[in-house]
């Protein structure tokens, strides 16, 4: 027991170093700044969109702002996440890292934590801009913070997906697979909500419902559509969402760790 604690601390310190390095690497990336610049421009532009509408300027800024944060942070997670492991292998820098007394799964967790840090900074900057725009136009509501919190939970899942695909395949295939996961995650609810009620055959309805339960549902974490109507999430929503995210992320990281362990990197 006495030897386990320092080892744990060492692992934490190693993961911290890798996370910090990942963060530095990401913020030097042009993709990060291009996406951030687009997002900030869209957030500012949302006020112009609001003026095209009638009587709901604040609503347009809020809806467009939250959608921008959600969409662009997802793109950042995908485009930075897909290369996290593969580029290390391709550049052969991973051999240098793994030659040190560092477990592969700790390397993986470090990369994951680093990307989450990048996304936290990215989201925080966008929230700051959105809040400033909303304060200027008199539509600020503190409910944007929980909404962004739930967006971040979705990003945690998406990052884990990108990391998993990055551990098993090339960046191009990873990008396609992660984008597909994102699209499926945001459209799968239509199976239960729209398709199933239109099917008459009981077996087909059960098949569609079963498919819905198998496929990921990222939309279930979003409260963006409630914020503008000042509707609070239902009691018990927060801990269920946290647990759902934790379970999904754990599963994906375990699969990534397994995939990385099986690779011949020595």
């Amino acid at each position: 027991m006495s030897r386990q604690a320092p080892r744990g601390l060492l692992a934490l310190s190693q993961m911290g170093s890798i996370a910090l390095n990942t963060f530095r690497e990401a913020v030097r990336s042009r993709v990060f700044y291009i996406l951030l610049a687009f997002a900030v421009s869209l957030l500012v532009f949302s006020s112009a969109m609001g003026f095209l509408s009638i009587g709901n300027l604040q609503r347009v800024i809020l809806d467009m702002g939250l959608s921008t944060i959600s969409g662009f942070s997802a793109l950042t997670a995908i485009f930075i996440g897909i290369g996290l492991i593969y580029t290390e292998i391709e550049r052969k820098t991973i051999y240098n890292i793994l030659s040190k007394p560092l477990a592969r799964h700790h390397f993986l967790l470090g990369r994951y934590a680093g990307l989450l840090l990048v996304l936290a900074v990215n989201v925080a900057l966008m929230v700051l801009v959105l809040s400033a725009v909303l304060v200027y136009f008199g539509g600020f509501t503190p409910q944007i913070f929980p909404a962004v919190g739930y967006i971040y939970l979705e990003l945690m899942i998406l990052t884990a997906v990108a990391l998993f695909f990055s551990s098993v395949t090339s960046p191009v295939v990873s990008a396609i697979c992660t984008v597909a996961f994102y699209l499926i995650g945001h459209t799968s609810s239509a199976l239960a909500e729209i398709l199933a009620p239109q099917i008459k055959a009981a077996w087909a309805k059960q098949l569609v419902t079963a498919l819905y339960h198998v496929l990921p549902d990222l939309g279930i974490l979003s409260i963006n559509n409630l914020v503008v109507h000042e509707i609070a999430p239902a009691p018990g929503f927060a801990w269920r969402a946290l647990l759902y995210t934790a379970c999904t992320v754990t599963l994906l990281l375990l699969a990534s760790a397994l995939a990385l362990r099986r690779r011949d990197l020595v």
């Binding site: 969109m49 509408s53 809806d63 945001h186 909500e193 559509n225």
Partner: protein
């Protein structure tokens, strides 16, 4: 400058001119298309929900902005159908989009499609149990434009139930009841409006007092005339002739007493025709006094 660079520059300039010319040609062809076919296609709600990738409110905002910019591009023959579809999609994406109901109803009212106005309003009322504006809007269109006083009564009753303190709603409810012929209930509403406003210092309270006083005056006459006329009718049906005077209705038990009009003058009665009339003039004149 080498010959090759000069040729490249000339080619670039030629390309720019060609692009400009082609764009002009395309634009002139584009302008010949019928305007109503340019932009009215909005996919189904189910498709839009899926295509929104979870950002339904944002997509609803975009379709709403598009619709208010281009609603007049719809041809008059198809405008109502397509506008209803557009606002149906917007309110499917965000069922609590208050402005969509307001402007959807406004645009649909241009074609006098009251059935669609009522349908959109019903949807808004079902989507939000606290919303009263869709009922207020539908009631106003029914009352002022469609002259459908039964529908106006129904919608103002919903608006009043959801927002009991709004004085304009009470006033319109009382008016709808009056025009729908429900004089007794209309009288009760106006008496309630008078009670709430006569000692009030709220803005417009004096206006409501004046409106209530005039309506109570006219409705009292209407109610009295209707009661007296009904008693005369019953008297004749049972006895075969009109009563000799109004007092005989009280004496024979058809009425408990004979009222005077609000000015204190007795109602006039013609025993040959059985008609009861009022000496005092109605406060409301003109076309709208013919209720």
């Amino acid at each position: 400058m080498t010959v090759r660079t000069a040729i490249a520059c000339l080619a670039l300039v030629a390309l720019l001119f060609a692009m400009h010319g082609l764009h002009g040609g395309l634009k002139s062809l584009y302008d010949t298309y019928p305007t109503e076919f340019r932009s009215y296609y909005v996919p189904s709600s189910a498709y839009m929900k899926v295509a929104s990738l979870g950002q339904r409110n944002f997509l609803a905002d975009l379709v709403f902005i598009w619709s208010i910019q281009f609603f007049d591009m719809y041809g008059p023959l198809v405008r109502d159908t397509y506008l209803f579809h557009t606002y149906d999609v917007i309110t499917d994406l965000d069922p609590r989009f208050a402005e969509a109901y307001v402007f959807g109803n406004l645009f649909l009212s241009l074609d006098r499609r009251w059935d669609l106005v009522y349908a959109l309003s019903d949807k808004g009322l079902a989507a939000d149990p606290n919303a009263w504006i869709p009922a207020w809007d539908a009631g106003s269109y029914a009352f002022f434009y469609a002259r459908d006083y039964a529908a106006a009564k129904r919608y103002f009753a919903i608006a009043h139930e959801r927002n009991p303190s709004a004085m304009p709603v009470q006033k319109m409810m009382a008016n709808a009841l009056k025009y729908a012929g429900d004089y007794d209930l209309a009288l009760e509403y106006w008496k309630g409006i008078l009670r709430e406003n006569e000692d009030s210092s709220a803005p417009h309270a004096q206006y409501f007092v004046i409106a209530a006083t005039r309506n109570i005056h006219d409705l009292t006459i209407k109610v009295d005339l209707r009661t007296l006329q009904a008693a005369v009718g019953r008297y004749r049906a049972e006895r075969g002739n009109y009563p000799p005077n109004l007092d005989s209705l009280a004496k024979t038990g058809y009425l408990s007493g004979i009222p005077a009009d609000p000015a204190g003058k007795p109602y006039l009665y013609d025993s040959r025709t059985g008609q009861v009339t009022c000496q005092s003039a109605f406060k409301f004149k003109g076309k709208f006094a013919q209720w």
